[in-house]
């Protein structure tokens, strides 16, 4: 079949959204859907048309235990606690347990030992570089992480960020030499203003970050390129934080 034909795409998308596409045809269509934005768009249009038919389905209240079961599955089953935990727990549950050590060191050093013990028990944290950036009021705002040999920097926003139109959030690495003397900052990439995202770095985390102890974010007109001059003063950073090795 020629999957380029718009009418065929539309027909298959309608049957997929309706649920009547089954068997090998369904598997083939799912593969194509992953590759083609055009097909995804057609599916989305059909899902919208058909979802409108659900408006008349009588609502039925689910049992109260369903929400509790969902929260238990998300790892929220225990009592609410200090604000640090409110964002730390879900991250842990979703396998980005990476924040444990950083959050503890940054905000509650006295808890470090017990959290570390927890991390040890999980046995699931890959060797990684992790940065937790706080805003000028000290509120955790951006979590940046990359596996030690990886080139992808994963960014999670912990608070909404207000980025004015035409501006970007530039992430900088702030290295230092063995004696602890600051070296010139260099740009790593642009922080996406979405809840989760990331960017590809020019090289592996290990080669870029091994002597980087802090990260900073500036608000600027355009992304910085390699070799661009670093911010003139610490005042230029809207967010800063430690960068640590998680191993």
């Amino acid at each position: 079949m020629n999957y380029q034909r718009p009418e065929l795409i539309d027909r298959l998308a309608s049957e997929y959204a309706l649920g009547t596409l089954r068997g090998p045809a369904l598997r083939r269509f799912r593969r194509l859907m992953q590759q083609s934005p055009q097909i995804r768009q057609a599916v989305q249009q059909w899902e919208t048309r058909l979802a409108a038919l659900a408006v008349s389905v009588p609502p039925v209240a689910p049992p109260a235990k369903t929400l509790l079961a969902i929260e238990a599955q998300l790892g929220w089953a225990t009592k609410p606690r200090a604000s640090l935990w409110s964002w730390l727990r879900p991250a842990m549950v979703f396998s980005v347990g990476l924040v444990i050590g950083v959050g503890a060191v940054m905000l509650q050093p006295q808890r470090f030992v017990s959290l570390d013990a927890l991390a040890q028990r999980e046995q699931a944290l890959p060797q990684s570089y992790v940065g937790l950036l706080t805003d000028r009021e000290g509120r955790p705002t951006v979590l940046a992480s990359s596996t030690r040999q990886g080139t992808r920097m994963t960014i999670k926003l912990l608070r909404p960020l207000d980025v004015p139109t035409g501006k970007v959030l530039q992430l900088w690495a702030l290295p230092q030499d063995e004696a602890g003397k600051p070296l010139a900052a260099f740009p790593l990439g642009v922080v996406p203003a979405t809840a989760k995202g990331g960017f590809e770095m020019a090289a592996s985390a290990e080669s870029l970050l091994s002597n980087v102890t802090r990260l900073g974010v500036t608000l600027q007109e355009a992304p910085a390129a390699a070799g661009d001059a670093p911010p003139a003063s610490a005042e230029a950073f809207v967010l800063t934080g430690h960068c640590v090795k998680l191993w």
Binding site: L18, G19, R49, A52, V57, Q73, W87, A195
Partner: protein, 195 residues
Amino acid sequence: MHSSKPANPDSALLAEQLARVALGDRAAFRRVYELSSAHLFGVALRILNRRDLAEEVLQESFVSVWHKAGDYQASMAAPMTWLISVVRNRALDLVRSAAQRHETALPQDEDGRELDIEDGKGDLLDMLGEATEALSVRGCMDALDAPHRQSLALAYYHGLSHSEVAEQMAAPLGSVKAWVRRGLDRLKRCLEAQA
């Protein structure tokens, strides 16, 4: 396509809460659940015909909503449309996997209770009629023969395959496929004309 979004619950409020869920806001997540779960449970129950399975699907769907709220794009679809798609796709996956295990249909629940939903043919057509009424395309859709509307409604509301629809309607498979197709085409044309 926004003209055809489901009317309830408040779309703007739901979209705002979903955006907060994407940032890890648990209170917003509970609000989304509160606003949408009864409707979504109703949708899952129609397809699965068993409360325990519908609960399972609702649970998995909301866990997925927590993880994937960042993927939801308000510019592309109304929030309820997105949530219904998440729930329907999971419910359909469950139905399909049951079919693959050569079960002709999902059995009654383990206590042997009666199935939860009873749909006479009239009930399903009423539901379709009510939805098309709400979309202001009832006249346009009612021009379609009743078996065409019936087969579309069985496939949509109950998640039946073509052959299951054929069996339910005691009609040849080829005819049912053509009816469903005409139903879908008609729905598209009616909604486009209405917009």
